[in-house]
Symmetry: C2
Subunit: 337 residues, 2 copies
DNA sequence: TCAACATATTAGAGCGCTCTAATTCAGAAG
DNA sequence: CTTCTGAATTAGAGCGCTCTAATATGTTGA
């Protein structure tokens, strides 16, 4: 590995001082055009590119935004990261990712590693960390939480409005004529709670009897929930699943049991994963504005970094209904085909 | 933000020199136990943690492995990263991710950003970069390529054996009794080429007439390919798709056209994405040893970094057949149900 | 007791950069 | 031809750490 050229090398090669090269590299306006050109040419010729680490050390500022992705396998985060990355780059920051595999211990390590880079700010995407760890991180740099709430005054949060989303699903089904709408909830997570709450509120609003089957965010769980419904012998005309995976499991179990979707039972998912869009699946679902979540997270960090805001930001974004082929009017009761 | 304590602070607080603190932090064996304890206590009390950037700058070494993920949305890479991360951490390195959205220009930028951290090594996961850019990167630090070949002697490669994988699919179908097996290929990529080659070789080996439909790695393309087959009015009994998405699109189009899978047509995918495992899909497919790919990539980098090897490593891993519910014996010709 | 040696500790230069303050340089004004 | 002014350039200290070489400290053998 040949040693990479330094600023001094460029300075010498261009016949100027290191300080001038530094100014050019940060494109300061107070460099004479001729000198600037000469420096740039010298840099080009030597194949020079600035050493960010040294820059960060010397300037005591960082342009790195650390992003902790709780689970890389979940494509949901990929788009949030994309939004975050785009917004960050637009204002001169860069994004460094790290992952924690949804295990608190590994996530702690990952957070520490991120922190040891002394980033300008940190975004935590749906972390499973204890809130104490988050608070401690927030003491050394701005922190924003995506898809997770917090009442800490020094951390910002960006969330999708799960209540609104679930309500959207219910309204859609009611509009189609459904009255027997069951919710397959997502178990423990904070997401699930608000989605369930939204479902319950919407059902109440329509004066319908709510029914919640405890489930989880996997396709297996969705299938199991349907099995439970099957045993009860009272299949509703519509299902609001906790997420897309759960919905797909439910659909699969329904079809196995001889029900047609959506002719006999309508199903709505949540998240609008790439899965839902597959023509084979074509799932009606709730779309979270993922890019926007990322963008807002980046913005929140940058505001804090620049000291433009000290109060906690609490963004709650509106999800959207995406109608595909798993919802339709209910079968006519008593006269089944 | 309160300024974080430095090594000097710890040294003063513990009544020793900065150099000693430095030794303790790198747990050097030549520090007297009493001093070590005192230093550690002081560090603890001040909440000190070393500044990695400063360390990297001073020691002119880095423990960072940069990983460029061409497409975060593709869960395939998530597992490769996991393997890479685990292996890297086990030997004292840490992984920093960056993404390029499968656009050469953005990928270039992402690579430059990664390089500007002066990482100890770089892993490129299925990059779309021109090979010149890769060669240039390899001049400043060790580089390993995953899911992409290279003949550069200073870059290592780790790949799944696509020829073997496609052959596996063909053998499986032949064993089931199929003779009319069509391949829906993946278009441009390097992956596709080797898979197609594997298909052709295996067909020849069984003395069967190969047929390749040009397609792409998306479900839409899979459906389109089936439509083409439909027009030709000669539906084969089995399909070997270029990847899982393609397979799913094909299945969906087949079912729309009244064919049952696998009763009428068997379909094999490639990649064993999480999609394939969904019970609703339950796709027979070829599994790449993703974690292992990551592990080997990390190992290759570390070997180069430590100077233990200078010759190029060319790892070619064996994929495995995962039999699920989209393959079965062929329908009996002429006596269709 | 003291040289001789091993071991523990520290001073101080330097990694590649930024930043402040000082210096140089033009050109305009007197 | 000075003097002044503002702009362009540079010297030099320092960011938080590591590393080499030098120094301090302790142990042992004669």
């Amino acid at each position: 590995m040949p040693a990479r050229p330094t600023m001094d090398d460029v300075a010498r090669h261009a016949g100027v001082s290191r300080a001038l090269v530094s100014l050019v590299m940060r494109d300061s306006p107070k460099v004479a055009p001729a000198r600037r050109a000469a420096v740039l040419r010298a840099a080009e010729e030597l194949g020079y590119s600035p050493h960010v680490l040294a820059r960060a050390l010397a300037s005591r500022t960082s342009t790195v935004l650390g992003v902790l992705v709780s689970d890389l396998r979940n494509a949901f985060f990929a788009e949030v990261v994309e939004g975050l990355d785009a917004a960050a780059r637009a204002v001169g920051f860069e994004v460094v990712l790290n992952t924690g595999g949804r295990k608190p211990a590994r996530e702690r390590e990952a957070l520490d590693r991120l922190l040891s880079f002394r980033p300008a700010g940190i975004a935590l995407l749906s972390p499973v960390l204890p809130s104490g760890a988050i608070g401690k991180a927030a003491e050394s740099c701005p922190v924003v939480l995506v898809s997770r709430g917090s009442r800490l005054s020094n951390v910002d949060t960006v969330n999708d409005d799960g209540e609104a989303g679930a309500a959207l699903a219910v309204h859609h089904l009611v509009r189609l004529g459904h009255t027997e709408i069951v919710h397959l909830d997502g178990g423990g997570g904070a997401n699930s709670t608000s989605r369930r709450r939204g479902y319950l509120a919407a059902m109440r609003e329509h004066e319908l009897r709510p029914k919640v089957i405890r489930s989880e965010h996997t396709d297996e769980a969705g299938a199991k929930a349907v099995a439970e419904l099957l045993r009860g012998n009272e299949m509703p005309t519509a299902l609001v699943a906790g997420n897309d995976f759960n919905a797909i499991g439910a659909i699969s179990a329904l079809e196995d049991a001889g029900y047609r979707v959506p002719a006999d039972v309508s199903v709505v998912g949540y998240d609008n994963t790439s899965l839902a869009a597959l023509r084979h699946v074509s799932l009606t679902t709730i779309d979270q504005p993922r890019m926007e979540l990322g963008r807002l997270a980046a913005t929140a960090l940058v505001e804090r970094i620049r000291g433009e805001r000290t109060a906690a930001a609490r963004h709650l974004l509106n999800p959207e209904l995406v109608i595909r082929d798993t919802t339709a009017g209910p079968r006519t009761k008593g006269r089944e085909t």
